[in-house]
């Protein structure tokens, strides 16, 4: 049986061949602990320094602003809990469509005396500006709004949102895990606008799982989440995962290169995909919003999303019915709920997320398979009625 067509790049991505080639020596012959002072250790330290420069360059940050961690979830936890630990409890504002690894730490801080406000979004999945203005009037101390939503692909106007928050004096963080390689990220520009921290993740951008980074304005004081040894400038202890960090460096460099040309090709594929989806009667979420060119999030009336993705898997297409982390959770997506989508429609949600290796032929095949599958399921639904 041929390998299924992978259309779930917002969950995770395949490793770029150059990334794998770059990582392998650090698993095998060049295995030193970067804290060791001998040749093996010094080589590992140098590799980490180079990777730090690559990641920094990919997002136009300074290498000293890059803190390596084990993943995007850890990074978001580090920023939120780490910053909160240095302050007296106050107001924390997060958008209602954040990933659980922002919402859950926020809930945790609420138990520790913080007031947490969720900033609403409009029907297109973009931050509701009047709700945001109201939240800002209450002077939050910490704000976290994702650059790109993992389910809808909707892009927030982070620079403008951060700029509006400047007068509050809050630290402004943005989870950019879904943005690397799909959008140009310029930390200097964002930082000037008032963004103080960004979360990046390697495995969402053809890098390995197990490496991520917090890009951090050095004025922000953080308490580490993991103590012991004082690695990463005291912000994140633990022996560095050298192969993954090296892989992240290469992936970040490739990601920055490809945002120059990839979106054009991707947009054409997205247009083709969504023309096909509409022709089959799908409702596309956030269709009119500024969105990533790789993400299409849709539902068919009266077709359960879980059922549909199951059938599509058997037809050879890997797609998602929601965010991977909560895929075990039968609740309709909190993102769609926040956008005001009715629960019965939200239960039908299916996400297709393309990657650089997908082709127009993949899309033709996918639409054909979808047509057959949806036809059968609608037939069943009709019989049931």
């Amino acid at each position: 049986m041929p390998q299924p067509v992978y259309l779930d790049h917002n969950a995770t991505t395949p490793l770029a061949p150059a990334v794998l080639a770059g990582m392998l020596p650090w698993l095998e012959s060049r295995f030193g602990n970067a804290s060791s002072r001998h040749e093996y250790g010094r080589a590992a330290r140098q590799a980490i320094d180079e990777a730090r420069q690559r990641v920094a360059a990919a997002v136009n940050a300074h290498p000293t602003e890059v803190v390596f961690t084990s993943g995007g979830s850890e990074t978001n936890n580090l920023f939120l809990k780490g910053a909160a630990a240095t302050m007296k409890p106050g107001l924390l504002a997060v958008s209602a469509i954040e990933h659980p690894c922002v919402l859950k730490p926020a809930a945790q801080l609420a138990r520790q005396g913080w007031a947490v406000r969720q900033i609403g979004v409009n029907g297109s999945g973009a931050v509701d500006l009047s709700d945001y203005a109201e939240v800002l009037a209450d002077k939050p101390k910490l704000i976290s709004i994702m650059t790109v939503n993992n389910e809808t692909g909707v892009i927030q106007e982070i620079a403008a949102l951060a700029d509006a928050a400047k007068k509050t004096g809050a630290w402004f963080h943005s989870d950019a895990a879904q943005a690397l390689g799909k959008l140009t990220i310029d930390f200097r520009v964002l930082n000037a606008a008032g963004v103080h921290a960004l979360t990046l993740s390697a495995h969402k951008a053809n890098g390995p799982k197990g490496a991520a980074a917090l890009v951090l304005d050095k004025r922000v004081e953080l308490q580490p989440l993991i103590a012991g040894g004082g690695h990463e400038g005291g912000l994140r202890s633990g022996t560095e995962n050298v192969p993954a960090i090296v892989g992240f460096g290469i992936a970040a460099e490739l990601a920055a290169q490809r945002v120059a040309e990839l979106p054009v090709r991707m947009k054409m594929m997205q247009a083709k995909m969504e023309t096909g989806l509409r022709a089959l009667g799908a409702q596309i979420f956030a269709a009119d919003a500024r969105r990533l060119p790789n993400t299409s999030y849709f539902a068919f009336p009266d077709i359960d999303g879980e059922t549909l993705v199951g059938k599509l898997d058997r037809a050879g297409f890997a797609v998602a019915s929601g965010a991977a982390c909560s895929s075990a959770n039968p609740e309709p997506s909190h993102v769609l709920r926040a956008m005001g989508v009715a629960p019965e429609i939200a239960r039908g949600a299916v996400r297709v997320s393309l990657g650089p290796e997908n082709t127009e032929v993949d899309i033709d095949h996918f639409i054909n398979a979808l047509q057959v599958t949806v036809g059968r399921l609608q037939g069943l639904t009709a019989l049931a009625v």
Partner: protein
């Protein structure tokens, strides 16, 4: 023979080629997110994660459901100590016991708990590096919530009496955490028998990859934890974050190999260590740090008196060894572990940790012995202290004039 010779297996180990071979498919074609429930990419990754969980559990006599993946032993130690102390503080109290020779990952975490209002007792060890059971017993208070003692010390390789400590803790109702980062593949660990509640593991000290570790969390009697990383609810809520499949697969394979080969390997490594010990004991005024019987076969920590530590490191560049633990070797402070064993600063500074492993050869040990004989001799020829010692001057009675 490749130079420098790697004798620093306690800092990190190379990934065994068999481990790397098993990892690579999970970096390439099987790249799925194990949390993806809707397609085969996710299922394949998830099945590999669960197989690895069984392999890790099998090495230590645990149930796979008791294994929680983390990014490494440092995170495991943080999760165990903060997670259990915070969960049980309300019912048991806010006193923590640990030992002065623990790894920084434990000591720094306990210090942080002190800043958050906990009280801590840092126990001394005996001159041999081992914990005195009576001293431990005496430190337990009615409000002691947790004790954290490492299985095998990273610098001197001594094995603490974990079984006995576990009995004491269970009897007194104290949660018992053990940092076993240096123990896997070197000591038989059977959590069916040991009364340990929480145990930290690392892959990269046992020929697995960096960036992956695990925490054992006992189910019978059940131990509960406050999670330290919140999000998608991975690892039954103990630790959120996308699982790094290839690293987990690597840890599983590394622990499978350890289970299969450790008995034989420990004999081979022990012979090499004893050869090194014998070869170095021929040098005058050398002192072994830590007990030689209650000790893993891989470790030899020796002080060379009248040799200045930094010159020594420079002189034996052909050997990749460690003076003090890797994590603190960037500082010029003498090792706090050796000081806890009662070594003075001079001797602590002149100590070298040799750690031997799977790929060490007899030829490499011979080379190391010869090199040390030559270099220690040369350095001592240059040392006025050595000359005074040879002249019979008792250096402890010398009054040094300030300049």
């Amino acid at each position: 023979m490749k130079l420098p010779i790697y004798l620093d297996y306690s800092a990190t180990t190379p990934v065994d080629p068999r481990v790397a071979e098993k990892m690579i498919p999970y970096l390439c074609e099987h790249f799925g997110n194990p949390a993806s429930r809707s397609h085969s990419f996710g299922w394949v990754a998830d099945a590999a994660v669960e197989e690895a969980r069984e392999q890790v559990a099998a090495l230590v006599g645990a149930d796979p459901k008791e294994i929680v993946w983390t990014s490494g032993a440092t995170e495991s130690n943080n999760l165990a100590i903060k997670g259990a102390a915070n969960f049980y503080a309300g019912t048991k109290g806010k006193h923590i016991i640990t030992v002065k020779t623990e790894h920084k990952a434990v000591l720094d975490t306990v210090r942080e708990m002190e800043r958050q209002g906990f009280e801590a007792t840092y126990l001394d060890v005996k001159e041999d590096g081992l914990l005195d059971l009576e001293v431990f017993k005496a430190a337990i208070r009615p409000d002691t919530v947790l004790a954290s003692v490492m299985y095998v010390n990273n610098e001197v390789g001594v094995i603490q009496p974990i079984a006995e400590l576990g009995e004491i803790c269970r009897e007194k109702g104290v949660i018992f955490h053990v940092d076993a980062a240096q123990a896997t593949g070197k000591v038989d660990i059977d959590l069916n028998k040991l009364k340990v509640d929480l145990m930290s593991f690392s892959a990269h000290k046992t020929y697995g990859p960096k960036g992956i570790g695990a925490l054992y969390v006992r189910r019978k009697p059940r131990v509960r934890l406050e999670a330290q990383m919140h999000g998608g609810g991975h690892e039954r809520g103990f630790r959120s974050g996308t699982l790094a499949t290839h690293q987990i697969v690597g840890m599983g394979e590394a622990f499978r190999i350890a289970k299969e080969e450790m008995a034989e390997e420990n004999v081979r490594v022990g012979k090499l260590r004893d050869k090194l010990l014998k070869g170095l004991q021929d040098i005058e005024e050398t002192f072994v740090n830590g007990d030689l019987t209650q000790r893993v076969a891989h470790n030899l920590n020796i002080s060379f008196a009248y040799v200045e530590g930094e010159s020594m490191i420079m002189a034996i560049k052909d050997l990749a060894v460690s003076s003090g633990s890797a994590c603190t070797s960037a500082s010029l402070e003498p090792s706090y572990v050796l000081r806890a064993l009662g070594r003075d600063d001079e001797l602590a500074h002149s100590s070298i940790r040799f750690s031997i492993g799977r790929f060490t050869t007899e030829e490499e040990i011979d080379y190391a012995i010869n090199l040390l004989h030559t270099k220690v001799g040369k350095l001592r020829e240059l040392s006025p202290l050595w000359e005074m010692f040879k002249d019979g001057v008792d250096l402890t009675t010398v009054q040094w004039a300030a300049h």
